[in-house]
């Protein structure tokens, strides 16, 4: 028969083993006398991109027979449906018989059957809302812009109403750090650091990214071992970029959002506009050909004049788009290389000499079967 022992652990005050003289009955009639077993080994997991899971261990003294164990979480943001309660040792001679939910309370009661009087370590898991996580990066680029150091920070902010005197926080890539975190408190922790990472700098003309036709400056990091990264997928986050100014200090050179970058993929970061490279586009030919009723072809030449006012040569990437059915003509000139990215997109690389000497990309193409 029921031992009428009600053990309660209240989230906000720690765990409680509670002796009650009453069965679990409605909220207004619950009289409790509790001892409060300590929380042990708390783990806060961020491996799911959308939710935060908390796991804690508590040692509870059980009497032989059926015990009632109460868990309440007033003032905290625990998802009731997600709660899992189990003995840490699956071989423990205990059985969880039922879970009861009282009305109007952030609480539940487990009925636990114990083969004998004993202390059992239980593991309690639940999803907790309002623990925010944020990833950010700090990139320090060498003066010659060939390499960088790349630091990965993990920031957590606790608005859940719960307190973590000490807990292991586990990031998505399995990195673990131990911290305390009060309600309302935020902490930012350096979780990964990579030095001498090779980076690529690109000057990009792309009207879909910069409609005014200004040239963007991008850094491209391949998340791969060969450049010094590639140990974990890089989470989405803000990247603040600094550069060694050669005199022992650094200068902030821009920031961008780094998208989630799996191992082997590229992270492209825009640090701003390349003021010293100018591109002017002119349409030089726009003829209609081969008219058949309401169908025709076109012959078009777009000319891009590129001026690089820097002291050194620069390679400029022009990402150009043409809709519909079209083909590039062999008379296209002025480029170093090109790649047809997809039907609508072509990417040219053009070497722009130093000190403002203009170079022209002459993009000659024919649109077909236009109507």
């Amino acid at each position: 028969m029921n031992k009428r022992i009600l053990m309660t652990f209240c989230f906000t005050f720690g765990v409680g083993a509670m002796i009650s003289l009453l069965n679990p009955t409605p909220a207004d009639a619950r009289i409790k006398l509790a001892t409060l077993p300590d929380r042990e080994a708390v783990v806060v997991r961020f491996d799911n991109p959308n939710v935060v899971m908390v796991e804690e261990e508590r040692t509870i003294s059980l009497q032989k027979g059926v015990n009632n164990v109460d868990f309440s979480w007033a003032g905290t943001q625990i998802d009731k449906g997600s709660i899992i309660f189990r003995p840490a040792d699956p071989a423990a001679k205990v059985e969880i018989l039922s879970t009861s939910y009282p009305p109007g309370e952030a609480a539940l009661t487990w009925q636990i059957s114990a083969a004998e009087a004993m202390s059992v370590k239980f593991r309690l898991s639940y999803l907790m809302a309002n623990i925010q996580r944020e990833t950010d990066y700090r990139m320090l680029v060498s003066k010659d812009e060939q390499t960088c150091s790349f630091k990965h920070y993990f920031k957590i902010r606790n608005w859940s109403g719960g307190r973590f005197a000490t807990a292991d926080f586990v990031t998505r890539d399995g990195k673990k750090f131990e911290k305390g975190l009060e309600n309302g408190e935020a902490k930012r922790v350096l979780v990964n650091s990579w030095d001498k990472v090779k980076l690529t700098k690109e000057y990009v003309y792309d009207l879909t990214r910069q409609p005014e036709g200004k040239v963007l400056t991008d850094y491209v990091l391949k998340n791969a071992k060969e450049i010094g990264l590639g140990s974990i997928p890089l989470e989405y986050g803000k990247v603040r970029i600094y550069q060694d100014d050669g005199s022992g200090t650094t200068a902030f050179t821009g920031e961008d959002w780094g998208r989630f970058t799996p191992i082997g993929d590229d992270m492209r970061l825009n640090i701003g506009i390349a003021q010293d490279i100018k591109i002017e586009m002119k349409k030089m030919v726009n003829d209609v050909q081969n008219r058949r009723g309401n169908v025709y072809d076109t012959d078009e030449v777009d000319e891009y004049e590129i001026k690089n006012f820097k002291d050194t040569e620069a390679v400029v990437t022009l990402v150009l788009r043409v809709d519909g059915e079209w083909e590039m003509k062999a008379t296209t000139s002025g480029h170093d290389s090109f790649e047809r990215v997809d039907n609508e997109t072509i990417r040219f690389k053009v070497k722009a000499p130093a000190k403002g000497t203009p170079v022209k990309l002459r993009f000659h193409y024919q649109k077909k079967n236009v109507w």
Binding site: P26, E55, S100, Y101, I263, G293, V341, N369
Partner: protein
């Protein structure tokens, strides 16, 4: 503890000549046994309770009242379990001054004690299924635990009740909550009650410590072992079954009609013996997936709602997208061919053409293990499909690729689609 809001009063006095007399001497026989049969498809619970009553020879009045509950007055029935041949219900009166009371006039052949059963429908008690799937670290199998949760908002506390849960969809012509509020009964309602009562009685099972599942007509009845007390406004969750080692298949699926324009990880298993299941259908409910995270710890994968899963049926659960497994489709070329023209007087105009598109399907597996893909491509109109890699025709407009890719692998598949328009279209 909530006080019971209704009482059963055996009026042992010989039938008084008129109901107007208010002086009554009553005894309050306790419930000996109560059984709840709870339906999840409608707001309906059949309550059957037995009590021991003492009758005097002649006519006895038995009062039954249910103030502040959600009992349907049209459904209340009296039945003698013992001495049935010596007891007869002569009439049932519904006093004008109370809408939540009735009085049976019962004739007894002699002074006797009998066990009687009173049954009725109430609304406000419901149940729901819930599942936890504990996935192995490699997603290849799981431990599936099923729960049932009974919620009691009926206004009444049923102590030590045998609880039975009905899986299936029954037809009701009027809602119990509406009838509890005083709506008139009708003949069809009574017929429906009669059928359900018969079904519920026929499904009586011995008490067991676990939850016993039995098929009945188009329904399944889960009988919870032993008895349960669910106080009013409380909910109680019980384990229905637990099965370890259920094989699970994880397939990254592209199916815009079902899952929108994203690659989703679909977890598949069957409710059959090969998957260590199949003993009973699985009622609709929330499935929460967790994954072993080492050292007995758990990581959260996600939650989805499932429909009713019949025995031997397959279950597909969308566990959401995974940024480490990607799919990208790009159109690498587009041509218009086979243009045909017609004349309207001297004016030439286009009447038929084909588009001939080449697509590149890029699959990347950044995970640290091999994964399976199922890519469903849907095309409209009169089209021909050409592919380097063999595809399966799912229906007249859907082609499917199934692939397996090692960890870290990338694969490109090129396919071409010719679509005929205007007078070129053949269908």
């Amino acid at each position: 503890m909530i006080k019971t809001s209704w009482c059963l009063c055996a009026l042992l006095a010989v039938l008084a000549p008129a109901l107007a007399a208010k002086e009554e001497l009553v005894t309050l026989p306790k419930r000996d046994k109560v059984q709840l049969t709870i339906y999840n498809s409608v707001d309906l619970t059949l309550v059957r309770e037995t009590r021991a009553l003492t009758f005097k020879k002649g006519n006895n009045r038995l009062q039954f009242s249910w103030a502040n509950t959600l009992i349907d007055p049209t459904s209340v029935e009296f039945r003698a379990v013992t001495s049935a041949d010596k007891i007869e219900v002569l009439d049932t009166s519904y006093p004008a001054e109370s809408h939540q009371m009735l009085i049976w006039t019962i004739s007894a052949e002699s002074d006797l004690s009998a066990t009687v059963e009173i049954s009725y429908f109430t609304s406000g008690i419901s149940w729901a299924a819930e599942y936890h799937g504990m996935l192995a670290a490699d997603d290849s199998s799981m431990t599936l635990t099923a729960y049932v949760t009974v919620m009691n908002n009926s206004g009444e506390e049923y102590e030590d009740a045998q609880v039975r849960l009905v899986v299936g969809s029954i037809n009701l012509v009027e809602t119990i909550a509406g009838l509890a509020g005083g709506q008139r009964q009708n003949q069809r309602m009574e017929e429906a009650y009669g059928e359900m009562r018969k079904a519920a009685r026929a499904a009586d099972a011995d008490r067991k410590k676990d939850i016993v599942k039995e098929g009945l007509s188009e329904y399944y009845i889960y009988t919870v072992g032993g008895t349960e007390t669910v106080p009013n406004a409380w909910a109680k969750r019980l384990e229905s079954f637990k099965q370890a080692g259920v094989p699970v298949r994880s397939v990254y699926t592209w199916d815009t009609a079902k899952y929108g324009a994203q690659l989703c990880r679909i977890l598949t298993f069957k409710n059959d013996e090969a998957h260590k299941l199949g003993k009973e259908p699985l009622p609709a409910g929330i499935v929460r997936f967790y994954r072993e995270a080492g050292a007995g710890r758990l990581g959260y994968v996600g939650a989805v709602a499932t429909n009713y899963i019949a025995k031997n049926d397959e279950i597909k659960v969308n566990a959401g997208s995974d940024p480490e497994v990607t799919l990208k489709i790009t159109r690498s070329s587009h041509k218009k061919e086979n243009l045909s023209f017609a004349f309207n007087g001297r004016q030439q105009f286009l009447q038929g053409w084909d588009t001939y598109d080449q697509f590149k399907l890029e699959l990347k597996n950044f995970r640290d293990r091999a994964v399976e893909f199922e890519v469903n491509l849907v095309f409209n109109g009169d089209f021909d499909f050409e592919s380097e890699l063999a595809a399966t025709k799912v229906d007249f407009r859907t082609q499917r690729y199934t692939l397996r890719m090692d960890k870290g692998a990338r694969q490109e598949v090129v396919y071409k689609v010719r679509t005929r328009f205007g007078t070129n279209a053949r269908k």
